[in-house]
C-alpha cells in the first residue's frame, strides 16, 4: 500500500507527475495494479462521507477532459442527494474527435485506475449503475475493459457491498456502433437507451433527467482516471500541478507533420512549442509550420506565427482565440493545402451530422460543396464570404455543439488565413478567365 503514491503520481515530483499513465509495466493486469497500491484510494474514499469525497474533487480544481473543461466536482453536486430515483453514471469512452487518441491509452495501459475512479465517483454520488460507453471501433480496448471489469467483480471491488462496505454498484461496458455524435453527452444517453444518437434539447440537464429519465452524470475517461490520485494525494496536491485555473496533467495527443507523434502526459499549461519541438520531435524535414489545431479538429486553428508563448490550458488558449478541447494537437507544415484541410474537416462534420437540426444538416452540405468547388479549381472570390455566412448561420442555431464544431474551423481558418485563400481564389479566377 505504501507504493500507492508511486502509482497515483509516478516520479513523486509534484512539478512533473504522471498521474493517469504512470510508467509501470503491465499495469493493466489486476495483480500489478494491486501490488502497486491500486484500489487503496477506493478504500480510503469508502471510509469518508460521500459528500466529503465530492468536496475533495471540487477543491482539487479538476476540470473535464472531454472537451468542455467543466469543473468535475461542481458537476457532481448537481446530482440530487436523496434516493427517490436510481442514479446513473455514464463514462464517455466514445473518443472520436479527429486528432484525439488519448483516452485509448488509459483503456489500454491503465484500465483499473479508470474503474477505481468510477467506483469512487459512484460512491460520492450514490450511483446505482455505471455504464462505460466505448466507441464500436475500439474493439480491442472494449475487450481489455471487459476483462478488467470482470476481474474487479471477482475481487469484490464492484457489485454488492464493494470492498466490504455498505455500498453497492454495478459497472457495465457498453459498445457503440459508429457515430461521432454519440460522444455528445445526450446523444450518448440516447444511444445507451438503444436509440439513434440524437442529442436532446437542454434543459432538462442530465443531472435531473438523464438515462431513462433518472439523474445521470456523464464524465470523460481521463477525467475519472484522475480521481483516485486526487483522493489519495489530496486536493491541494492536485491543485498545485500545472496551470492554476486548469490544474493537473493533461494527455496531449500530437499528430500530423511531426517526427514523433504520440500522447504525452504533461502538466497543463505546457508550452505548445515545447509539445511540438521538444516532445513530438519537431516538424518533419524541419519545415515551417503553417497551421496548428490545438484541441481536436473542431477547435479554432492557430497560424504558425501565433504559436510562440502559447500555453496549453483552457484559459491560455481562450486568450489566443482557441480552446483546449481534447488536447489533440494537429500540426500542419508550410506546404499544406488549406482548402484540402477544410474540405476534409467539413466533410467529416457533414457525414457525422445527425440530421436533426436544419442549419447543421444543410449548412455542412453547402460548405462542403463550396469547398469542393474551390478544391477542384472553380472557386470564386466571393466564396470566402459565402462560407463565413453559412458558418454563422449554423453556429448557435443547433441543439448540440456539433453545429459550432462544424462552423469554427471554417470561420476561423478563413479569418486567420484570409490573404492566402484570397490569393488562391484570385489565381483560380484568372485561369478560368484564360
Amino acid at each position: 500500500m505504501s507504493d500507492a503514491t508511486k502509482l497515483y503520481a509516478q516520479n513523486g515530483d509534484p512539478g512533473f507527475p504522471r498521474i493517469v499513465l504512470p510508467e509501470i509495466p503491465n499495469l493493466a493486469q489486476m495483480e500489478t495494479y494491486e501490488s502497486n497500491g491500486g484500489y487503496a484510494a477506493l478504500k480510503r474514499a469508502l471510509e469518508m462521507d460521500p459528500a466529503a469525497v465530492t468536496d475533495v474533487v471540487k477543491k482539487s480544481g479538476l476540470r473535464g477532459r472531454g472537451g468542455a473543461a467543466f469543473p468535475t466536482g461542481l458537476k457532481w453536486t448537481f446530482m440530487p442527494k436523496g434516493n427517490e430515483k436510481p442514479k446513473y453514471l455514464a463514462i464517455n469512452a466514445d473518443e472520436s474527435e479527429p486528432g484525439s487518441f488519448k483516452d485509448r491509452q488509459i483503456l489500454e495501459f491503465n484500465p483499473h485506475q479508470l474503474i477505481e475512479g468510477i467506483l469512487i465517483a459512484s460512491y460520492a454520488m450514490g450511483i446505482k449503475a455505471a455504464y462505460i460507453y466505448i466507441r464500436g471501433e475500439y474493439y480491442k480496448w472494449y475487450k481489455i475493459l471487459e476483462k478488467a471489469v470482470e476481474e474487479a467483480y471477482s475481487r469484490k471491488y464492484v457489485g454488492e457491498n464493494i470492498a466490504g462496505s455498505n455500498f453497492s454498484v454495478d459497472v457495465y461496458v457498453h459498445r457503440g456502433a459508429g457515430a461521432y455524435i454519440c460522444g455528445e453527452e445526450s446523444g450518448l444517453m440516447e444511444s445507451l437507451e438503444g436509440k439513434r444518437g440524437y442529442p436532446r434539447v437542454k434543459p432538462p440537464f442530465p443531472a435531473q433527467n438523464g438515462l431513462w429519465g433518472n439523474p445521470t452524470t456523464i464524465n470523460n475517461v481521463e477525467t475519472i482516471a484522475n480521481v483516485p490520485a486526487i483522493i489519495w494525494n489530496g486536493a491541494e496536491w492536485f491543485a498545485k500541478i500545472g496551470a492554476e485555473k486548469h490544474p493537473g496533467t493533461l494527455l496531449y495527443g500530437v499528430s500530423g507533420h511531426v517526427n514523433r507523434p504520440g500522447v504525452f502526459e504533461l502538466p497543463s499549461g505546457t508550452l505548445l512549442t515545447d509539445l511540438i519541438y521538444k516532445y513530438a520531435g519537431g516538424v518533419i524535414g524541419d519545415k515551417k509550420i503553417k497551421m496548428v489545431i490545438p484541441g481536436g479538429s473542431s477547435m479554432p486553428p492557430l497560424r504558425g506565427d501565433q504559436l510562440e508563448g502559447v500555453k496549453m490550458d483552457a484559459e491560455s488558449l481562450k486568450g489566443v482565440g482557441s480552446a483546449i478541447g481534447t488536447g489533440g494537437v494537429i500540426v500542419m507544415d508550410e506546404d499544406t493545402n488549406l482548402t484540402k484541410v477544410l474540405l476534409r474537416i467539413t466533410k467529416f462534420y457533414w457525414d457525422e451530422s445527425c440530421g436533426q437540426c436544419t442549419p447543421c444538416r444543410e449548412g455542412t452540405g453547402w460548405m462542403k460543396k463550396i469547398l469542393q468547388r474551390m478544391y477542384d479549381g472553380g472557386g470564386k472570390a466571393e466564396d470566402l464570404d459565402l462560407l463565413v455566412r453559412v458558418a454563422n448561420n449554423i453556429e448557435g442555431n443547433t441543439i448540440c455543439a456539433l453545429g459550432d464544431a462544424a462552423a469554427w474551423p471554417v470561420k476561423f481558418t478563413i479569418q486567420r488565413f484570409r490573404k492566402e485563400l484570397e490569393e488562391e481564389l484570385a489565381s483560380q479566377e484568372r485561369s478560368a478567365a484564360a
Binding site: P86, E95, S96, E97, P98, G99, S100, F101, R104, A129, R135, G136, E137, Y138, Y139, K140, D170, Y172, H174, R175, G176, A177, G178, A179, Y180, S191, L192, E193, G194, K195, R196, G197, W212, G253, V254, S255, G256, H257, P261, G262, V263, S297, G328, I330, M332, T336, K340, V341, R344, I345, F348, D351, E352, C354
Partner: protein, 159 residues
C-alpha cells in the same frame, strides 16, 4: 436463428439495463457476429427478441455506420481518411489499395475476400496512416506494409 449460446448472452445482456430497448445495440452486435451482416430478417428477429417494432430496429441499424446493411468481404478494410491520416498520406494508400484490389472505395472484390471502405477518424492519429480490418487496427502503414497484409490475408483465407 441465434445459437443457444447467443440466446443465453441476450438474456445476460438484458439484465444490465432497466429497459430491454437498451440491449438493442449489444444484441445487434451479436447478430452481426453470427450472420456477418444485418438483414431485414435479422432486424425482425432481433426486434422480436426485445419486444421492439421493426421500424425502430431499422432506424437504429441505419443510423450507425458499423452495422453492415449488406454482406461484406471476409476482410472488411476500413481505411481512415480523416485529417491526421490525410496529412500523412492516407489518400495515396487508399488509391494504392483500389489499384491492388481492382475495386473502388465502397466495393467488394468478386472473390468476396475484400471490401474497401473509407471511414472517419478511428482514434489512431499518432500512428497514422492506419486502417481497421474487421476488428483489428493496423497502424503506421506504408504501401509495403499494406501489400504484405493483403498477402497475409489471402494466405489466411486459403487455410
Amino acid at each position: 436463428m441465434f445459437t443457444e449460446e447467443n440466446l443465453r448472452r441476450v438474456e445476460e445482456i438484458k439484465k444490465r439495463y432497466p429497459k430491454p430497448m437498451a440491449a438493442l445495440l449489444p444484441v445487434l452486435w451479436i447478430a452481426q457476429e453470427q450472420f456477418g451482416w444485418i438483414s431485414e430478417e435479422a432486424m425482425h428477429y432481433v426486434g422480436g427478441l426485445l419486444g421492439l417494432p421493426f421500424n425502430h430496429v431499422l432506424g437504429v441499424v441505419t443510423f450507425y455506420t458499423m452495422y453492415n446493411k449488406k454482406p461484406v468481404g471476409k476482410y472488411n478494410i476500413q481505411f481512415c481518411a480523416n485529417i491526421s491520416c490525410m496529412l500523412r498520406g492516407a489518400d495515396n494508400l487508399i488509391e494504392h489499395l483500389e489499384h491492388k484490389l481492382g475495386i473502388k472505395v465502397g466495393e467488394t472484390t468478386s472473390d468476396g475476400l475484400f471490401t474497401l471502405k473509407e471511414v472517419e477518424c478511428l482514434g489512431s492519429c499518432g500512428t497514422a496512416p492506419m486502417m481497421q480490418v474487421n476488428n483489428d487496427y493496423y497502424e503506421d502503414l506504408t504501401s509495403e506494409k499494406v501489400d504484405n497484409l493483403l498477402d497475409e490475408f489471402r494466405k489466411q483465407a486459403q487455410r
